[in-house]
């Protein structure tokens, strides 16, 4: 892997903006980018995107001999692959530290937390068990690979269905999908890894972008490192499965508590979304609707390229404002009431330490004259 060079000015700028209370892309400290899950035509394939980070996940199964020490348990393998498609600094078919790290982290989160009922994958004790293999392919790397790949793993495992098996005496029949309904994987709980970037030892940022991730783990100008990445693995019952820290040591337990609290909310949200998406997907499949990745590419997507998230953005900026301004000219004269947007001088607390004005697009310039003056 070629090293990515980060210039001093980028480092300083990101550090300073975060210390001042902004993020480059206009999000709040605890705000995440848009999460989207799309399922493929096969069971157990999905693409998860967080902002511009995209991960493709596919679960496959085969019948193998179980391990000697666990003769009645199936197997689970997780395999992460990062190709030059993700970012130009990666090389094809080469393991990097990042791949190994991601692989280990996901194994810890999904294998060691025993969220999958491996015993249900057993067909014949000591002879035949199902082996599940999760293949993750990073399609685009824009920070927060950990969270994205963990959601992809979870969604694809939860979505996966293995063929049904019947035993008659010695022989075993594996039915095709058309023959018999496939069986979903049994999940005891749904763990998700949530990633936080730590700046200056006390600022916690959820869903860091690529530049934030690189800045917080790199050393600052005076040779010290005061940031790092904290990964919290948690399931929907707020049970912790994993805690991992890279970068500087934390000497403030408060930050871990804050991270865990924030992770609990995020996990709940993610798990609910995964469950809901799988449910709708299941319903559609029962109605014989064709589902595939082509659904991701909507006309909206292909045409209005400008609607994508900018990586440098003011907090209140939305690209739609430009079109909306034209409409306001009309509404000014008609003076409609149904404008739910914030008024120009409404003060909205957006961050714990800052208060800011939200500019309203349809602010009326007309001054209300009370009825009394009319009577005069």
């Amino acid at each position: 892997m070629r090293e990515v060079f980060l210039s001093n000015c980028e480092k300083n700028f990101v550090q300073k903006t975060i210390a001042e209370g902004y993020r480059l892309d206009g999000r709040n400290y605890n705000e995440c980018r848009k999460l989207n899950i799309a399922f493929g035509s096969e069971y157990g394939s999905c693409i998860v995107s967080i902002g511009e980070t995209k991960v493709l996940s596919q679960v496959s199964c085969e019948v193998v001999q179980p391990k000697q020490i666990r003769p009645n348990e199936g197997l689970l393998n997780i395999n992460v692959e990062i190709s030059p498609m993700a970012a130009p600094q990666f090389e094809a078919n080469r393991q990097t530290d990042l791949t190994v790290y991601l692989n280990r982290l996901l194994e810890k989160c999904y294998k060691d937390s025993k969220c999958i009922d491996l015993e249900s994958l057993c067909i014949v004790v000591e002879e035949k068990v199902w082996s599940l293999r999760v293949d993750l392919k990073i399609l685009n790397h824009d920070g927060n690979l950990i969270e994205c790949s963990s959601i992809a793993t979870l969604a694809s495992i939860a979505h996966f269905k293995r063929p049904d098996v019947t035993r008659s005496g010695e022989s075993i029949v594996i039915h095709t999908l058309a023959d018999m309904d496939p069986i979903p994987t049994v999940l005891y709980h749904y763990p998700v890894c949530v990633n936080f970037a730590i700046f200056k030892n006390n600022i916690l940022i959820s869903d860091p972008s690529y530049i934030e991730e690189t800045v917080c783990t790199s050393t600052s100008e005076d040779g010290t490192n005061t940031g790092g990445l904290l990964v919290v693995g948690m399931n929907q019952y707020k049970e912790m499965c994993l805690l991992d820290l890279t970068g500087a040591a934390i000497y403030n337990s408060n930050i871990v508590h804050r991270a865990i609290q924030s992770a609990a909310e995020r996990c709940k949200m993610v798990v609910d979304l995964v469950k809901k998406d799988i449910m709708t997907d299941d319903n559609l499949r029962q109605k014989r609707t064709k589902i595939n990745f082509a659904d991701i590419i909507t006309t909206d997507h292909a045409q209005s390229l400008c609607a994508k998230d900018l990586c440098i953005r003011l907090k209140n900026f939305t690209i739609n404002d430009i079109e909306m301004e034209e409409e306001t000219d009309v509404s000014k004269s008609i003076d409609t009431d149904d404008n739910t947007a914030l008024s120009k001088y409404d003060v909205v607390p957006s961050l714990p330490q800052t208060v800011e004005l939200k500019a309203k697009k349809g602010a009326s310039t007309w001054i209300d004259i009370s009825s009394e003056s009319d009577e005069d």
Partner: protein, 236 residues
């Protein structure tokens, strides 16, 4: 497929318009075009553009930089090796920048550059078989606008966006320069360096530049006003 100027073209298309009218005239073909025996073929997806009298090129969306001689680029110093700096300009290999190619630099008087600094430099050698070479002086030995860029922020963007904002007809910089003071350097390698008085103004500037990518000229003006309004709303 046969195409003409102004069309959206795909690799493999050919254009019959591109041919010398008589013996004396010359035709210049730019990026994305290749001359074969019979026709000029298109090798990139984009829009076929023409500049009179006989210059043709493809305007395409691209993020990866291929060094071209004479272009001004922004690079990051990655290494000091002997009497050259190695500079990452986003190309396939790093570029070389000699200690001596700065204004007033001698063997004794070396420029002060640290690893991680960013520089604005001109490419003097860019051939496909050799390492590209940069200079920070013009042919008279003056530095002009080239040199080290201090503070500020650098971000990456598609190369066609850089071409768009550098186009003299683009209203973006004209509308922005009236709103708040800033400095900017746009490298043809898809990197833009910005510096303003405050962090927020820098972010607003970056926002305006990136937001301008797919907007028409009139929309760009509107967007600049909009951003200035947001900026002013917070400061007051």
């Amino acid at each position: 497929m046969k195409v003409s100027v102004g069309d959206v073209v795909l690799p493999g298309d050919y254009c019959e318009e591109i041919s010398p009218k008589d013996e004396k005239s010359r035709v210049v073909i730019g990026p994305g075009l290749r001359k074969e025996v019979d026709h000029v073929y298109i090798t990139k997806a984009g829009i076929l553009k023409k500049k009179n009298p006989h210059t043709y090129w493809i305007d395409s969306y691209q993020k990866r930089y291929v060094p071209i001689r004479g272009e001004n680029v922004i690079g990051i110093v990655t290494q000091k090796a002997g009497d050259i700096f190695r500079v990452d300009i986003g190309g396939s290999t790093t570029a070389a920048l000699s200690f001596l190619s700065f204004e007033g630099a001698t063997k004794k008087n070396r420029p002060e550059l640290q690893v991680g600094d960013i520089i604005y430099a001109k490419l003097v050698i860019a051939s496909k078989d050799m390492e590209p070479e940069l200079v920070c002086v013009d042919s008279f030995g003056h530095k002009g606008r080239l040199g080290v860029l201090n503070d500020g922020f650098m971000f990456k963007c598609p190369i066609n966006l850089v071409r768009k904002i550098l186009n003299p007809k683009c209203p973006l910089l004209d509308s922005l320069k009236n709103e708040w003071p800033f400095e900017m350097a746009a490298g043809m390698n898809g990197r833009i360096w910005i510096k303003a008085n405050s962090m927020r103004e820098s972010i607003a500037l970056g926002n305006a530049i990136l937001g301008a990518e797919f907007l028409s000229d009139s929309d760009i003006k509107k967007m600049c006003n909009n951003i200035a309004a947001i900026l002013a709303g917070h400061v007051s």
